[in-house]
């Protein structure tokens, strides 16, 4: 610690949370680039030829950069904006639909991701790992679809009740690990992971052997949610812009998360428990009650995310609902770690990782590089975010207030 006050630039270069997150994302993309390079036959061939011609090494570098560049360009144009199409729309006034579709898709997928990530962040902030958000979201989606497709009501009551069904189902399913942890001490990580597999089977069961299955359908497809229960889109359904009220719900949930963690009594109890369970117990906070409420709230938000996902986009379930490359629940873990459990940061993180997922699909279509790359990048980002000291060492940052970034670490028993 020097006496001189650090300049602004030095502060940027110190290991502060924002710099660490930014550099972690950068490192994540570097890892992704390495995976592309090592898995592409063209690139590897170019590297084996570097001694055969004078400019071999430059050629190999160029091929590597071309491949990586094509992948990341497709990711960007697929999830944010394609400059040429955008310029075309701007100058001619035509084709706004195509120009805005990437952004609309990103926001569409960001909505459930932000909601579920807030739920996960609340559990993390309390020192509990809700790894089962995926299952809770799927169950919420099933409940919401069942209510939205099989019951006829006017919209102003049908839509809220459909959403509420999702919340209730998710909260109920979150209650299981919560109660088990509070009463028997079962480690929530294993219980929630196992429940994810249980829900995956339950999804197939409800799509194949219950009235939820689309009548006359032999495959794993559900009935379609009635228009009275669907989340309205902002643009006419004639366009491909699917962005819907879900993003408004997400913003409301982010506001709720911020208020809950920073301003409410219960949120304070949660954070105290997360920071120091012994101090919490000593100050009269009932740890069992906290555990159960955390999972109730976290599960409820996950359920809401599930129902927003199905209600805002596809309006029907299929066997692959929310499972995807790694599942929305895992992405939510990465998002809340990236946002260090601060709801506002989590929201930006959700938009970023939603863009990664949406762009990943376009990348897969355009370059043939599998979508799983997006998950690899996300996992790498989280590894680096969870290990700020490593990032600090890689970039030789000044000592900062790292203890505010390092996550609480606990043993098995707690």
């Amino acid at each position: 610690m020097t006496d001189a006050k650090p300049t602004l630039w030095q502060r940027y270069l110190s290991a502060n949370p924002v710099t660490i997150s930014f550099l972690a994302i950068l490192l994540g993309f570097v890892v992704g680039a390495l995976v592309i390079i090592f898995s592409s036959a063209d690139v590897m061939h170019a590297w084996t030829q570097i001694f055969n011609s004078p400019g071999g090494i430059f050629h190999a570098l160029k091929v590597s950069l071309d491949n990586v560049g094509a992948a990341y360009r497709a990711m960007f144009t697929g999830s944010v904006v394609d400059p040429t199409i955008f310029w075309h729309a701007l100058t001619t006034g035509q084709g706004w639909n195509a120009a805005l579709t990437p952004l609309s898709e990103t926001l569409t997928y960001a909505a459930p991701l932000a909601i579920i990530s807030i739920g996960v962040a609340i559990s993390f902030e309390t020192g509990l790992f809700n790894i089962g958000a995926n299952g809770q979201a799927i169950l919420g989606g099933i409940a919401g679809t069942a209510f939205g497709s099989m019951i006829n009501l006017p919209m102003y009551i049908h839509l809220p009740l459909t959403l509420l069904c999702g919340v209730a189902a998710g909260a109920f399913f979150g209650l299981i690990p919560g109660v088990l942890k509070a009463l028997t001490g079962a480690h929530e990580v294993i219980v929630t992971l196992m429940l994810n597999y249980v829900v995956a089977f339950f999804l197939l069961y409800s799509l194949l052997s219950t009235p939820l299955q689309l009548p006359g359908q032999a495959n794993d497809l559900s009935r379609v949610i009635l228009p009275s229960a669907q989340l309205p889109t902002f643009f006419s359904t004639a366009t491909t812009l699917r962005v819907n009220w879900g993003i408004l719900i997400a913003i409301a949930v982010v506001a709720f998360g911020w208020w809950f963690l920073n301003r409410s009594t219960m949120g304070f109890d949660f954070r105290v428990t997360g920071a120091n369970p012994n101090a919490a117990r000593a100050s009269g906070i009932n740890p069992k009650k906290v555990i159960i409420y955390v999972f109730l709230i976290s599960g409820g938000l996950a359920g809401l995310a599930g129902v927003v996902q199905v209600d805002g986009t596809t309006h029907a379930l299929d066997g692959g609902f929310l499972i995807g490359s790694a599942g929305i629940g895992f992405t939510a873990i990465t998002v809340s770690l990236l946002g260090r459990n601060k709801p506002i940061n989590v929201f930006w993180g959700a938009i970023l990782f939603s863009a990664l997922g949406v762009g990943g699909r376009i990348m897969q279509a355009e370059t043939g590089i599998p979508l799983d790359l997006a998950t690899i990048i996300q996992s790498a980002v989280v590894l680096f975010v969870a290990t700020p000291v490593l990032v600090q060492e890689i970039f030789r940052l000044r000592e900062g207030n790292l203890h505010t970034i390092q996550l609480n670490t606990k043993g098995w028993g707690t």
Partner: protein
């Protein structure tokens, strides 16, 4: 091992009284289910045939035992009454020890009752006999993989590093194992390759957990997802276009002369592939090594109280690195063993087996012998899920598929009673 003495109770209980009563209640419920559904649900004249010869006798058949024809109702009635007796005994006497052994016994009775009921003449099964040997051999494969997984976990956790990444080590080992086995046709080389990959993954876990003191649960879960998506990725970019590297070769069985002729036991234990024999060695070596050698004492000291261990000159971080890497290697071999069972590599095909192995080691109280027993129970339930479908049990296959996971939850929820992890398990060691 001191006995806790209180005025009211001078026995050391494995399971608290209340929990013992609950377990007893569950046992009685199972017994009533056997009596109600299996015994009185079968017609009085129905018979069930039990056979002992394995269906696949390519590796040499054991000495024949002949078939056993049982009257379905009488035999399930007997099974149910024994189960009822065991349940009542647990409920009333509240034994201090071996409550779980009694529970396991009743579960086996339940399983037997189920099989007798389902294969009875006029029952739902398309075949009207049950092959005990075949059922056990089918369950043995998953059990073996689970044992590898739980050994991988014990190796790390005894030294104080939570290895939640067993699933990732399985997938990594299986991926490389499939490539090496397909291209060289040698499972010895595949095992070596799987062990190297597993060790590398173990090193990554150790690197983050020991050097940077990151949260081990987060690192573990993230590693599983990363390896899962990386193997998906490489499967699409590499194995799909070059299918000659994923041909689905499986190792041949190696019968042990004479021992393999023993009915039931022979085909189950002594006529299996090399991974079974390697597993026997591993379990033996680990039980002996951890509890009877100087090395094991040091490892356990590091896992229980690293500061104390350091004060007598044990290199805590060194021991943790070594054990986590070794545990990762065992997990990698488990992945190759899964390939030996399954043939081809498919993305995500271990479907949570690594986490079930983790539950098995908790169930087994962080002891190799306990983990083996737990793995056998999990192996049998997993087999139930897939095996019962071939017997046309009138339960949807999706519901049956939930079985192993629900059992796992029940187990970690402390149906097993009090378990105690190594005291420093999951807590980073800070030298100061």
């Amino acid at each position: 091992m001191t006995t806790v003495t209180t005025p009211t109770e001078n026995v050391r209980r494995d399971t608290p009284v209340g929990r013992t009563r609950v377990i007893g209640g569950i046992m009685i419920a199972m017994a009533i289910f056997i009596l109600w559904i299996f015994a009185f649900g079968a017609s009085a004249k129905a018979t069930s045939i039990i056979t002992f010869n394995p269906l696949n006798t390519s590796g040499g058949a054991p000495w024949s035992l002949g078939n056993l024809t049982l009257p379905s109702r009488i035999s399930t009635l007997i099974l149910g009454l024994i189960a009822l007796g065991a349940g009542l005994e647990t409920m009333i006497r509240i034994p201090a020890r071996r409550v779980m052994a009694r529970f396991g016994f009743v579960s086996v009775l339940f399983l037997l009752g189920l099989f007798v009921w389902t294969v009875r003449s006029g029952g739902p099964s398309p075949t009207n006999f049950m092959d005990v040997t075949d059922v056990l051999v089918n369950a043995s494969g998953i059990t073996m993989v689970l044992i590898y997984g739980s050994m991988a976990g014990i190796m790390c956790e005894r030294a104080g590093v939570v290895n939640i990444a067993i699933e990732g080590q399985f997938l990594g080992g299986a991926f490389v194992g499939a490539i090496v086995a397909s291209s060289t046709n040698s499972f010895v080389l595949a095992t070596v390759a799987g062990a190297v990959v597993g060790a590398l993954l173990g090193w990554v876990l150790a690197f983050f957990a020991i050097r940077y003191r990151s949260d081990q649960v987060i690192v573990g879960v993230v590693l599983v997802t990363m390896i899962g998506s990386l193997t998906n990725f490489l499967n699409l970019t590499f194995l799909t276009p070059y299918q000659q590297y994923n041909t689905g070769v499986t190792p041949s069985s190696i019968p042990i002369p004479l021992l393999d002729k023993i009915p039931v036991v022979g085909p189950l234990l002594f006529n299996q592939n090399m991974f079974f024999y390697l597993m026997y060695l591993l379990v033996g070596a680990m039980s002996f090594g951890l509890f009877k050698t100087k090395w094991g004492l040091r490892v356990r000291a590091v896992g229980e109280h690293p500061q104390a261990a350091a004060s007598v000159g044990i290199r805590v971080k060194g021991v943790r690195y070594f054990n986590t890497i070794l545990g990762g290697a065992i997990g990698g071999v488990g992945g190759v063993a899964f390939i030996a069972l399954h043939g081809q590599f498919n993305p995500g095909f271990t479907s949570g087996l690594g986490y079930i192995a983790l539950a098995a080691l908790i169930f087994g109280r962080w002891r190799p012998s306990g983990a083996v027993v737990a793995s056998i129970i999990f192996g049998l339930t997993s087999m139930l899920a897939s095996g019962l479908q071939s017997f046309n049990v009138p339960v949807s296959s999706e519901i049956l598929g939930m079985f192993p996971y629900i059992i796992t939850i029940a187990v970690v929820s402390g149906l097993i009673g009090r378990v105690r992890a190594p005291a420093a398990d999951g807590i980073p060691y800070k030298q100061d």
